[in-house]
Symmetry: D2
Subunit: 328 residues, 4 copies
């Protein structure tokens, strides 16, 4: 029964992403609007086990929609992976009168939520908060759009200095297992080549592409490389490889790193977070559980978490082709 | 026959929007990739009538993907609305050997293209370039995403000073006939109220909402107003009205204006422009005409221009509800 | 004696400016470092009269160095201009055990502080926080640098759309009595002409300049206008005037407005605020009073407030000449 | 005689810095204003030796004031360090009728200019273009202010994620021999500790400082490290060292790298570049040589290049003290 839920917990878990605060705000405000109590749980499952809770009213989330990071903090929590750990967490939630929770995070966090639900029949709804865009059941995860803007703004700056010196830059962006950031930021930044974890284009092709780029009279070249690219070489090794095999280039390396996770969220991520937050609370109050809020075809949807974490997002073949054509 | 097309013209028309340059680049590079000649037409239909053309190769669009505005310039052109004007334009195109064109612009520009096609059986494909997001057949028009980011960044700054002085601001954003910018930027900026052309919420409701906001202890209030909002009052008149009827506020006004059209495009708009540009050229080469490239459910689509300009985009009711809930 | 001061109040007053939070942080942290108590006074003299105080320790100013606005809020306060009002304020300060204060604001706020010192022999030190840069005794006021960056970023965006349409824009920037923002932002944005309160260049010269600009083949023109420019016409009237007398231009207007006061402070303003805050507290503890902290030749200085508010900053003639040369 | 100079060359040399384009524009426009010819020399001394010249009129520098990098490109040139190389360059200049040049660069570029002047009695004036701020005779070099803003904006983003996870970050900023960027960006970003090349504070102090920071309840810590810091450890080694000796922290590393050189220049750098460019041309026309344009006490000055490259800039002790106090 919807009416059974009187108090909803909300927390962020795993790596932070821009828009998490906007999602927290949306969950809190929707609870206030629907006259349900809302409790912030600090540091994800870690804080849940410690009972690190704080009642949140509508005003407690003033002026956070535009802030990066998460006011509820985040953490990875090993003990929660044990049955004992989860029991401790459950006891804390019960003690605080929390009937259900909204977890904002990635697939690791969702897996925890699913197990928790199974063991304690506790209603859980997930909001996909990760810059990697690697969750099935949503076209966009929260923070992906902002991370792309951060990456292209950085690469635009690198392009300035690359052009001034006719240099080649290898720019590493985030993405251990998926290349969505690399592919989109690469196309957005006009990269000559994009190396991703999903596909090994081979080092030969890279050399060919760079040779052609030089011949075509381009004043600079940017190669965007995902952390987990399949060539088996990181950006520093790629630099050495190209310097050895194609000594026509002055090569530099830049690793964008953690700044991709921070910063004020884009309008897109703020709006997405607001819509997702509303839906998450409404779903819980309608008696739903084990679902993840997503956006598909500009409509807010619900997908079983079990599918979201097992399904695979695929790299966009059409966009890879667009990338190829653009480097003409 | 696709093979009939040897030379494609490309131009921007109507109000400029961020991403137009990225779209021009994509059209030019796709032509180069597919070994078709590409000609840039300056100042839209005006330059077409004057034969203000320039052959564009792949290198001529280097380093423009991140630039606002349009390197091909834009203009509104009255003479093209006459049969004589269009005949002049057609003669210029024929003289230059141009077989087809890609028009990047809004519904006015598309209407011109459609008439032109009808009269001269000239293949035309449209790319929706406008910040207003008011074209049917695409979830996003080119420049909308960037304009939203510009608007929320400005309102974030205004919020700083509004909060410091406990003030109420009426912020006018673009949108004469549609409220998409107002609604999305309003939700993204955490506005207390959003006034749009599609719906008249009434001044009573505005006063109520502002009164409630003050009582709830908020330190500042932002009301986002589309240029064409239905209250019948512009932001300056709204200020006076509130000062008279609700003298508890220190009210200020800000009109964001033309800066919403400029600036480096967001990654989203750059990627969208690249995808659309590829599709536009491919469609022409496949013998298609009178179609507009769009994006729907993250897939690049083609819609008859006749539908695109006649169909109406509707304001997102769900998002209006989200906005209501967020102002709790 | 320095040792007499045990508790220092700090507040912001008048129009807010970026860097005020960084200055508050610096005052609070310096007090903590030197083992003096620090009390935040809300809403300037208004909060002082109401005893709206809050003890501030080093941690209370975490993560505010990069925030626009002022966490202590600001206000203009008429009652403080009366002897009775100041007596009320003095009683509140005494009741709270506050021995001295640091006022962050402009000349109006400084005048109040000076009067207050005279009447109650109360130690006061000022930090010049205003975007206008109109305080004598400091090369830079806090917030000026950030406001300039905000203004040129906006004008860069306007330039994008102006160039695309070969338009002329009149852009109004802040500055009722002084033209420092207009002159510097105008030079920084590459404006064709800059209209300021200090000098009336005349409308004839404006027309001449615009005519020459058009003839020279420029694709767009920006005229930066201070709020209080001496032509006697505001930007809307200037638009009409030019449309009438020089109908070769498509003219538009943009009023940048309050966003110039907000936003994350530049590094320059953050460093300046930090240096000024340290000096302000140290000066008080050394028994000094009625002084304003300033920066001259990259050195932190102290100037009698009486001089700071009476002295006039002059418009930089050399920079006006540079502006002239740049519009060649 | 001033009148002897009819044609002035201008080039950028060494590492690029934001504001170089604004300086080129100012040199070109001042030449146009004073009716002297101006020639752009591509790729510094390399292009000079190759005669890679282009006549530049006022319009050729339209819309570059806000662009990062340098449209004239830059390079380091070994052959110019030989007498033979310089003779080749001289011959090229003479052949092109160039009478004098303005070199925009750092101390390496200035040393070349000085030698060149000595050998060929060729008038040279320098503009200090480097983000490092390590040139004697000017309070600010061109690009320093922009690089600081870029650095603090990046660190602000890193702070978001650091705070969300209670992490410690070592952030490397540029500065092999001087710590001006590290010190200013460190203070601006609210860093807990700043490691610079000029002074070895010792690893013990670092551990103490971090321990104290943790105890004081801070939610995150940022240590800003100049490339050439004196601890003898780079950021990756510092991470390991702290993880070993102070295992209370979850440590991460970020190397900001080349993006610090790029991006649109700040208003400060644009105005500075404009002022410096005017002065450089005027100095040449007044018959001066071997001088560097600088800014001191907000006044444009001329300093013998011989002093500029030999003198040492010193780290600002007062600012180091401010940094200490701020980390209370």
């Amino acid at each position: 029964m919807a009416s059974a839920i009187k108090k909803i917990g909300v927390f962020t878990s795993g790596g932070d992403s821009p828009g998490m605060n906007a999602a927290i705000r949306a969950v809190v405000r929707t609870c206030a609007y629907l006259k349900v109590e809302c409790v912030g749980i600090y540091r994800g499952y870690e804080g849940m086990m410690e009972g690190d809770f704080k009642v949140m009213d509508a005003r407690s989330v003033n002026n956070i929609i535009n802030k990066g990071g998460t006011i509820l903090k985040s953490a990875r929590c090993l003990p929660f992976r044990t049955k004992e750990g989860r029991q401790v967490a459950y006891d804390q939630l019960k003690k605080a009168g929390i009937d259900a929770f909204v977890v904002i995070g990635g697939d690791g966090s969702f897996t925890g939520a699913l197990t928790f639900n199974k063991e304690f029949d506790f209603p859980v709804i997930g909001i996909p908060g990760t810059i990697d865009n690697d969750i099935f059941g949503t076209t966009y995860t929260l923070g992906f759009d902002t991370a792309l803007n951060t990456a292209v703004e950085c690469i635009d700056k690198i392009r300035d200095t690359a052009s001034s010196h006719n240099r080649l830059f290898f720019v590493e962006v985030m993405g251990r297992d998926v290349g969505h950031i690399a592919l989109n930021a690469g196309v957005g930044a006009g990269a000559e080549e994009i190396l991703i974890p999903e596909e090994n284009l081979g080092l030969e092709r890279l050399l060919e592409s760079l040779k052609r780029s030089k011949q075509s009279g381009k004043s600079s070249s940017i190669v965007v490389v995902a952390e987990g690219d399949k060539t088996g070489k990181n950006v520093f090794e790629l630099k050495e490889y190209v310097e050895e095999h194609l000594p026509i280039y002055d090569v530099r390396v830049s690793v964008l790193g953690h700044m991709q996770r921070g910063g004020a969220p884009s309008c897109f991520d703020r709006v997405l977070a607001s819509r997702m937050g509303v839906k998450a609370v409404e779903a819980l109050l309608e008696g739903k559980t084990n679902l993840m809020v997503g956006i598909q075809d500009n409509t807010i949807t619900l997908t079983p978490i079990s599918k979201a974490i097992k399904g695979h997002t695929k790299i966009d073949k059409e966009l890879m082709r667009v990338s190829d054509i653009m480097t003409t």
